[in-house]
């Protein structure tokens, strides 16, 4: 698969990255070079049978251990270390166009 400059422009919008013309040109070329390499993954389907990805979890106990209920230490933490914290929310500077009262 390959991507056009228009595709790359759209991907940039999805990723919230503004791309100048020279960046767009270079990224289109780079992404196509990378995708040519990545496309070898599709050969795998015809030559070797891919495994079920859930099998990885069976080897890593850390991601598949039984759920044990206990105190949630994270729940208490944000208020302890947040620079500013009010009524369960982090306080951040108002983004452009947003007034502190919440009115647009």
């Amino acid at each position: 698969m390959s991507v056009s400059a228009r595709d790359v422009q759209r991907i940039g919008e999805l990723a919230r990255l503004h791309l100048e013309d020279d960046e767009l040109k270079r990224l289109t070329s780079d992404l196509n070079a990378i995708l040519r390499h990545v496309d070898s993954l599709r050969d795998l389907g015809s030559t070797k049978q891919p495994e079920d990805s859930s099998q990885i979890g069976s080897k890593l106990e850390s991601v598949s251990r039984e759920h044990v209920e206990g105190p949630d230490k994270l729940r208490e933490m944000p208020a302890d270390f947040a620079p500013e914290w009010k009524e369960g929310f982090f306080l951040v500077p108002a983004p452009p166009g947003v007034h502190p009262s919440g009115d647009q």
Partner: protein, 464 residues
């Protein structure tokens, strides 16, 4: 005599000169002078150091890769977007180091957000290889490896998402360990690709890298992927020997294209393992050829999600703009070229219509790679491979060719995909440049690879 007895303060230890110790002033002087390597992005002040506990690292200076959160020193991830950022909390590994008596000497340079194999992608300039300053130190933990190789510190922490501890350790001639996924808490490690990221240790010797691993390992309730498994005394494994150990040599890691001098050093290392009491036999890991494409799909997909938080609201230095969307774009324009490239690739492979073709296939391939290791470790105790196809390469050689740069990681990414431990240990030099041999072990088999590395190191030490 101890620091707690106030016979010596930690700042006095760090400012002690002589006997091979580097003081904080030494590091500042060296880094700020013509011989500077740009290994450190921040060096601690004496008042940053205390308090610290009593333990196996009492009074020992340890450097931290600058993607590990500290509240006394800035944490930049090598990125303009986090320039001047000071975390309100410390990573679990930093707390464990302090409890063990270690002194945090400073924060080391890295490829931005850990994305790179040469430390050239730092917004604050590249780190130079102390062995040859015209060469890269490897990456992304190049600052940590260079700091240890240059003798600024004896130990440092890095992080390894696809080889970022092991490859720079190999390029700089020091020891690097990436443990099993879940062995070390990632709480306070700034995320790149969460299913692959793991903090690792770098040391001047196998014993030092192993001791540091022992100190920072263990379960942490603040990281749900950290494992509730006891931590062995890894320092003992470093000297236990390898009598009767079976070492597998995966044929896929020894391609015909390997340079003859590189192959000769690897063959010699195998002979040394046999001389130390091990049995060596060939094995196959048939899905190895798909590891790099699999890795770059999964790592970039996770990165595109993890780095969405740098929007000028949640994280990242906000740039003023008219309107919210423009503010997001301007703020995220502070990412460097490689980070943008990976966010773009990750966004593409996760997008509607391409998700299964790329991400789904890569997830299945990842399981096949893990299965290869399961089969191999039914036959052998550890695997021995090159850490990297070549020694350190010149600054600037691969920075404009992303695929060539990605292929630097061809022998290391598999350990991250499978979650197994890996270690790089020096096995000699090619044209005066250090080469690393990689030992891979089964899940939670750190002691096996440390033992094999310790035996190799002892064998080379006997030559000198």
């Amino acid at each position: 005599m101890s620091l707690q007895d106030k016979v010596l303060s930690s700042s006095e230890v760090l400012n002690f000169r002589g006997s091979g110790f580097r003081s904080l002033d030494d590091i500042k002087e060296l880094e700020g002078g013509r011989e500077g390597l740009n290994a450190f992005l921040a060096v601690a002040e004496p008042e940053d150091l205390e308090p610290c506990g009593q333990g196996p690292l009492e009074g020992v200076m340890v450097a931290l890769k600058d993607n590990i959160c500290t509240n006394r020193l800035p944490t930049t991830c090598g990125s303009r977007i986090l320039e001047g950022y000071r975390s309100p909390y410390e990573a679990t590994v930093v707390q464990r180091l302090r409890q063990a008596g270690a002194l945090i000497a400073g924060k080391t340079n890295l490829d931005e957000f850990g994305m790179g194999s040469s430390t050239e992608n730092s917004a604050f300039g590249p780190t130079l290889n102390p062995v040859d300053r015209s060469l890269v130190p490897g990456g992304s933990s190049g600052g940590s490896a260079a700091a240890v190789a240059a003798g600024y510190v004896r130990m440092a922490l890095g992080s390894d998402t696809g080889g970022s501890v092991r490859q720079p350790a190999a390029f700089c001639g020091v020891v690097g360990i990436k443990p099993t996924y879940g062995r070390i808490s990632r709480y306070g490690l700034i995320a790149f690709a969460s299913s692959l990221d793991q903090i690792g240790t770098i040391g001047a010797t196998v014993l030092e890298a192993s001791l540091l691993l022992e100190v920072v390992s263990g379960h942490d309730t603040r990281d749900s992927t950290s494992a509730e498994k006891p931590v062995p005394r890894y320092r003992d494994a470093a000297v236990q020997g390898i009598e009767g150990m079976v070492v597998g040599i995966p044929t896929e890691y020894f391609p015909e294209q390997l340079d003859p001098p590189v192959r000769a050093l690897l063959d010699e290392a195998c002979e040394r393992l046999v001389a130390a009491g091990a049995e060596v036999r060939p094995v196959s890991l048939p899905h190895t050829e798909f590891a790099i494409p699999c890795y770059y799909v999964l790592a970039t997909a996770e990165a595109s999600s993890n780095l969405a938080r740098y929007d000028g609201v949640r994280f990242g230095a906000r740039l003023p703009a008219e309107g919210l969307d423009r503010m997001y774009e301007l703020t995220r324009g502070n990412f460097g070229a490689e980070v943008k490239r990976r966010i773009m690739l990750g966004t593409y492979v996760l997008s509607s219509g391409y998700y299964d073709a790329y991400y789904g296939t890569a997830q299945r391939t990842r399981a096949s790679i893990a299965h290869d290791f399961t089969a191999a470790f039914n036959e052998v105790d550890v695997l021995f491979t090159p850490t990297s196809p070549t020694p350190a390469f010149p600054l600037g050689e691969r920075v404009l060719d992303p695929v060539a740069m990605y292929l630097s990681d061809v022998f290391t990414v598999t350990a991250n995909l499978a979650g197994i431990p890996g270690l790089s240990v020096p096995i000699g030099t090619v044209g005066g440049l250090p080469l690393g041999g990689q030992l891979l072990g089964p899940w939670w088999g750190e002691s096996h690879i440390i033992a094999a590395a310790g035996a190799l190191e002892a064998s080379y030490r006997e030559d000198t």
